[in-house]
């Protein structure tokens, strides 16, 4: 929209500016991806007596906060952890919950290496499908599919509680990605990984949207998080750039605050990133109507 039109409109304070998108999120995502890849690699090097100095020799299970979530039942009833899970998983679970109380599923949008991996594959999909990318599944159908991850969450928690074993490992594409060389990875997990990679060419973050049980847990925090993505309707020019930028297809432009359980707090929709009007879509505490 031309600058003059904005200044003469009913929102005289709105100003557009050329976007220089912050690189912080990409840097944090890349850092955690590399860190997890190196920790996974260190497991092999450790066995060969060549472990990388100063780098954790923990297993991936020990640094996955979802391990803490699936261990809650056993810890509460027996006082022990599920197989392969240790105190570190529990601590990371609490850290993730504290961050989620503040910012929602920031772990999904900023830290999770598997989310990052899907985004990277998605960049290729964007080149192939251009504007159609991430818009290929009809909304009427898609909105119901988004709840599958809660069914998966219940199944995983039930199966883990019943067996006291880390059942999710057998289908976990995240574990398969970082351990594909290991005989601990099941064929099913490799297939799920392959399907996720393929779907990432059409849909942004398909695993996060439809299947991730940990994303389902953290998504609940969007309902009551302290800092929300908020839209100032008095300065909004209804260009819907925020909607188009959202990897999770949330309609940011139709309300005053995003409460959608799928938000991953990536902040792509904000005035800092995509919204052309300064101070219109922001991460803030201010009250407002909800999306």
């Amino acid at each position: 929209m031309p600058q003059e039109m904005l200044n003469k409109s009913s929102t005289p304070t709105a100003r557009t500016r050329k976007k220089t998108r912050p690189w912080y999120r990409t840097a944090v995502q890349s850092f955690f991806f590399i860190l997890v890849a190196l920790i996974s690699l260190n497991q092999i090097l450790k066995e060969a007596g060549l472990a990388i100095p100063f780098l954790s020799e923990a297993s991936l299970h020990a640094i996955c906060p979802f391990g803490g979530v699936v261990s809650i039942y056993k810890f509460a009833t027996v006082g022990t952890f599920v197989q392969k899970i240790h105190e570190s998983s529990f601590i990371l679970m609490f850290i993730a919950f504290m961050l989620a109380v503040l910012f929602g599923p920031v772990i999904c949008g900023w830290v999770c290496p598997f989310g990052t991996f899907q985004e990277w594959v998605g960049k290729l999909g964007k080149k192939i499908f251009k504007k159609k990318y991430n818009q290929l599944i009809p909304n009427n159908f898609d909105k119901y599919l988004r709840f599958i991850r809660y069914i998966i969450l219940l199944l995983v928690i039930y199966k883990t509680a019943a067996t006291a074993k880390l059942m999710f490992q057998d289908v976990d594409p995240y574990y398969a990605l970082f351990n594909f060389w290991s005989d601990e990875v099941s064929v099913t997990a490799l297939i799920v990984l392959g399907v996720t990679i393929l779907l990432s060419l059409f849909v942004e973050r398909p695993w996060c949207k439809y299947a991730c049980p940990y994303g389902a847990v953290l998504g609940i925090f969007n309902l009551f998080r302290v800092f929300k993505i908020r839209r100032n309707s008095s300065t909004c020019i209804n260009c819907k750039a925020c909607d188009r930028a959202c990897p999770m297809n949330i309609s940011v432009s139709t309300g005053a605050a995003v409460l959608n359980h799928q938000c991953i707090s990536c902040m792509k929709c904000t005035s800092e990133n995509t919204c052309p009007v300064e101070g219109t879509v922001e991460l803030s505490i201010r009250e407002g109507k909800n999306v």
Partner: protein, 246 residues
Amino acid sequence: MKLKSIHVAVITLVFIFGGIALTSLLGMWKTTNDKIPAKYKDGEFAGQYNPADIRGSYTFNDISNAFEIPIEDLGKAFGVEDPAKYASFQCKELESMYALLAAEGKEVGTGSVRYFVALYKGLPIEVEEDTYLPKTAVEILKAKAKLTEEQIKSIEKYSVALPEVSAAFSVSASSPENATADRIIKGSTTFKDLMDWGVKKEAIEKIINDKIPDPGKTIKDYSSAKGLEFSTLKEPLQKLVDTVKK
């Protein structure tokens, strides 16, 4: 109050690494097991070590220290031949040592050690259906543990003879002419593997009472998809494989 992405980045990193640093200082951050089992939190046995928390990485020495069970009893119970290896023997080694038994649905592994320790010390434990004890372990328990009639009946029912086990293990491990003994159905075994081992497709389909969906599919995954226990298909299919071997 408004936050920019730089704030979120910094707060996220501070929370994660600050949390790890703080819990490390407090001695709470553990990424491996310290080889000390958890204790019962309440009830009659509150404060005692819980055998259910014995992990595969525990050595017989760790268990002996925690539960005050003579290491010789553990070594003899589970058929470790060399007494010099008792202390360093890890529970998870039993699973490969007795892999042939597992193929028959009689698992002697970490679960068996938990069971043995619980009975030895008179502690409560839940045991999976396919968990077995070696006969040597049963004899030690009968001699040294206070068992009820019901427990004695149960452990006798779920016992396997170690001499047979050892013989089978040594044959499969060392005899090249019996290399086919390696053809054991595991979690990663696919239908194609069975056919490669010489099992006829029709014979497999007769057992699974269905067409083979995809030869590359693992039998374990197929069982899960059909809502069956893995052992339900594994056992008859293993018999089929064994028939082909002969």
